[in-house]
């Protein structure tokens, strides 16, 4: 039984179709990352779930309750859905403690201690409560925004690129802290992001969006290894896509014979290899290429190899055994290639 389910949700802004027939489900306690470039419709989807916007058509159900369908629209203040936005959207006229306590009733017994608990829970010193939000760093502001959303024990937590305004180190630590916290609290969560590593490490389900369409939903590993098409494949990581002929249980392509996961014979297949599956070897057997570019980037080198057949491949190679520009190289393949089903 799915906890959150969206079916056939569409939304237009004038001539622009922001969402096209999106359906997705999420089990209770699940963690879904919605991944997509800007303009792909992911934030619109989140705003529809939060109730800030109404879809043109489609239904949204949460825990068996209809939030939106053709006849009704539960306003956001009755949904009990928490949200943390890109830059926190803290109320500038209220102190940190008043921000956290904003959703708590004023007469609530133990309100002050509850606010302190929440601040401690998100890893902040309760003494910060009397400060004003602009006295906090970006990471601290995001933690306050999270505490504020957690105060009402939301049924569902929406995170709208909450880490993207933070610098790289802070982003990783804040993300881990938030992730652990939500997991411990058992709160069903949706994270919207355009950062693929963030999506893969945060979620147990990933949905990839592009141009208002939900392209594919699945586990991070499943989507990474077996994407439905090239868009999904490149959304989740660097991809080497080659045309191939499948025969005798192998793919025949520019890299020679490669093992595949689907052995059905086909003439016009396309196969996917992740760059880390391809190792450069001495040019002994099989296809051979020439290194045309080798950029040093510290621990690895970004190597571009032009196959004698004409294809150019981009891959990473440990910088300790990186080939020199102009070197002749051969290839060995780790594991199976994935065949796109058309």
């Amino acid at each position: 039984m799915s906890f959150l389910s969206l079916s056939h949700v569409s939304k237009r802004y004038g001539a622009v179709e922001a969402l096209h027939d999106v359906s997705l489900t999420l089990p209770k306690g699940g963690r879904l990352a919605i991944l997509g470039p800007s303009g792909s419709g992911k934030t619109t989807l989140l705003r529809i779930i939060a109730g800030f916007e109404a879809p043109g058509t489609g239904t949204v159900l949460l825990d068996g309750e209809v939030l939106v369908d053709a006849n009704q629209h539960v306003p956001s203040h009755r949904r009990q859905i928490g949200i943390v936005m890109q830059d926190g959207a803290l109320f500038p006229h209220l102190s940190v403690a008043d921000n956290v306590g904003f959703g708590l009733a004023h007469g609530l017994a133990g309100r002050a201690s509850k606010i302190k608990e929440l601040l401690v829970m998100v890893g902040l010193d309760p003494a910060l409560g009397s400060r004003s939000p602009d006295a906090l760093s970006g990471g601290q502001q995001q933690r306050v925004a999270l505490a504020r959303a957690m105060a009402r024990a939301p049924r569902l937590m929406l995170l709208d690129e909450p880490f993207s305004a933070l610098d790289a180190t802070l982003r990783d630590t804040t993300r881990k802290a938030v992730s652990t916290l939500l997991q411990v609290a058992g709160i069903t969560t949706i994270l919207v992001t355009h950062d693929r590593s963030e999506a893969l490490s945060f979620a147990d389900q990933v949905a990839v969006m592009g141009h208002g369409h939900l392209l594919q939903q699945g586990t991070p590993q499943g989507l990474y290894r077996h994407p439905a098409n090239k868009l999904v494949a490149s959304a989740l990581g660097d991809a080497i896509v080659l045309p191939a002929r499948i025969a005798e249980g192998m793919a025949h392509c520019a890299l020679g014979k490669v093992a595949v996961n689907d052995k059905t014979a086909r003439l016009d297949a396309e196969i996917l290899l992740r760059p880390e599956q391809v190792k450069l070897t001495d040019p002994l057997t099989g296809p051979i290429g020439t290194v045309i570019e080798c950029d040093f980037a510290g621990p690895f080198c970004a190597v571009t190899v032009r196959l004698d057949g004409g294809y150019a491949l981009h891959m990473r190679q440990s910088s300790f055994n990186a080939p020199a520009q102009g070197a002749r190289v051969g290839f060995s393949i780790l594991g199976c290639a994935h065949i796109f089903t058309v």
């Binding site: 109730g51 800030f52 956001s76 203040h77 959207a89 500038p92 006229h93 959703g103 939000p133 305004a165």
Partner: protein, 506 residues
């Protein structure tokens, strides 16, 4: 501080000292009179009555202006009201009608109108745009993410408005309310016409009925205290809370709330407001123009008043802007505590009622510079003191946009400091200076009290001519002057409107 800045600072200091003359005058008069005299002249029923009038007027007018402005601002900025831009412009347009023309119109429509109720009605209609403008601008710039978050935290729409939107409007409301309050203290014509006594009307009464100097001066002292109380209340009400948006990036554009079935009653709010604020004055003027026919257009007389007004407005405007340049320059280029105090003294002087400034100048010219009494020099000096803040605000903003690097570049290309200032900063600040000059000129065109008290005998401006005719109950003959004042002011209110629209990127 380089030589140029030091020179500017010296001039700014002199001008700030001059700006404090009216305050000094009030203090000096108090000291001179001695406690006994002050007590007899201030602690009397008449002063208590005037204080009560002023307090009641302020307490009634300001909240009504606030409520009306918030309602109109919400309707024009945040709802799907049809023709919202048009109604927004009509909410600013009443500023083009001088306050005393508002009450002239109402006295024509309802001759029995007088007392507190009438004073509140006409004051609200004449002054609410001072609150509407900042409130609408703030409402437009609010980040809707805050309201989204409040809704996600379980607040119903009305609670969101009360707990998130309204607190964000606080600075705008304070600023607007202060302006309205200061105008209520300073206004003369509006209240005389509907027979409501305030300190300003009483002071001019005293002054004109046989020049009762000490009595008028004591009333001016109480008036200045009222003015300082308003300024202090405003400073306290502003508080120290931060309202600027946190975080980076641009805010999402605001969704418009559909009015649905409430559309018709909502539409009545701007329609009725525009009817009362613009319809009544325009219809009245139209009626008097029709009644007066061609006979009221005494072109030589009107031309004379127009010429004198233009002369005073242009000379006063140019001089005020020139006087504001050093202060604006110093406060942008070398900000510091002393500079802030100097600047604040200019603003305080500018918030004093015209009648106080006029009395101070009368007092000083009569005592120490009699040849200057009732000459254009004195009246223009009064204009400079009264309208310096208007010029200062416009200039500051535009000088701040001319970076000092450009002046340095000009210096490296061989200009001396004054030459560089003139070639770069003054040129770049010219639009701001022009806007400031226009604001000052408009203020002078509609100025009544200081002009009446200080201008050379025989001076006739549009405002004083209008006032003279309407005092003789020759309302028809007064109408052309009112029309001319409104025509002068219209482009400026249009500019205020578009400026606030542009600030929000519309």
């Amino acid at each position: 501080m380089n030589g140029l800045t030091r020179m500017m600072a010296a001039v700014a200091l002199l001008i700030s000292i001059a700006a404090l003359v009216p305050l000094g005058f009030v203090g000096w008069v108090g000291l001179q009179a001695g406690w006994q005299m002050v007590a007899t002249l201030v602690l009397r029923p008449r002063v208590a009555e005037l204080l009560l009038n002023t307090a009641l007027l302020t307490v009634a007018t300001v909240p009504i202006c606030a409520v009306l402005s918030i309602a109109l601002a919400w309707l024009t900025e945040r709802s799907d009201l049809p023709g919202a831009r048009f109604w927004a412009w009509l909410a600013v347009a009443p500023l083009a009608v001088p306050a005393f023309v508002h009450s002239y119109a109402w006295v024509t429509v309802a001759p029995g109108l007088h007392g507190l109720g009438a004073a509140v009605l006409v004051s609200v209609l004449a002054y609410f745009p001072f609150v509407y403008l900042p409130v609408a601008a703030t409402l437009r710039r609010l980040d809707p993410a805050l309201e989204d978050n409040a809704a996600a935290l379980g607040l119903a729409p009305w609670q969101v408005f009360r707990r998130v939107v309204l607190p964000q409007l606080r600075l705008a409301l304070c600023g607007g309310a202060l302006l309205v309050g200061l105008h209520l203290l300073a206004e003369y014509g509006l209240f005389v016409m509907i027979r409501f006594d305030t300190f300003t009307t009483a002071i001019i009464d005293q002054f004109q009925s046989g020049y009762s100097g000490p009595a008028a001066n004591m009333l001016a002292m109480v008036l200045v205290v009222c003015c300082l109380v308003l300024l202090a209340t405003d400073a306290a009400a502003r508080g120290t809370t931060r309202y600027a948006r946190l975080g980076s990036g641009a805010a999402r554009t605001q969704p418009l709330t559909p009015l649905g079935s409430a559309l018709l009653p909502c539409l009545l709010v701007p329609v009725i407001t525009a009817g009362l604020t613009l319809g009544v004055p325009l219809a009245t003027l139209g009626r008097w123009l029709a009644i007066g026919g061609a006979g009221i257009w005494k072109l030589d007389e009107i031309g004379g008043a127009l010429g004198q007004t233009l002369m005073l407005a242009i000379a006063g405007g140019a001089l005020t802007v020139a006087a504001a340049i050093p202060m604006a320059f110093v406060s942008v280029r070398a900000p510091g505590l002393i500079q802030r105090v100097l600047e604040a003294s200019n603003y305080i002087a500018g918030s004093l009622p015209g009648v106080v400034v006029a009395l101070a100048l009368v007092f000083i010219t009569v005592r120490v510079a009699l040849p200057l009494y009732q000459t254009p020099v004195t009246v223009i000096a009064a204009y400079v003191l009264l309208f310096l803040p208007r010029a200062l605000l416009s200039l500051r903003a535009s000088i701040a946009q001319a970076p000092v690097d450009l002046e340095h570049a000009a210096a490296s290309l061989g200009r001396n400091p004054l030459g560089a200032l003139w070639a770069v900063t003054i040129r770049l600040a010219a639009p701001g200076a022009a806007a400031g000059m226009a604001l000052v000129a408009l203020g002078i065109t509609n100025e009544l009290t200081a002009t009446q008290l200080l201008a050379p005998t025989g001076t006739q401006t549009l405002a004083t001519a209008f006032w003279a005719y309407s005092n003789e109950i020759d309302y028809a003959a007064a109408a052309p002057y009112a029309v001319l004042m409104i025509l002068f002011a219209l482009p400026l209110t249009w500019q205020l409107h578009t400026q606030s629209q542009r600030a929000a990127g519309r």
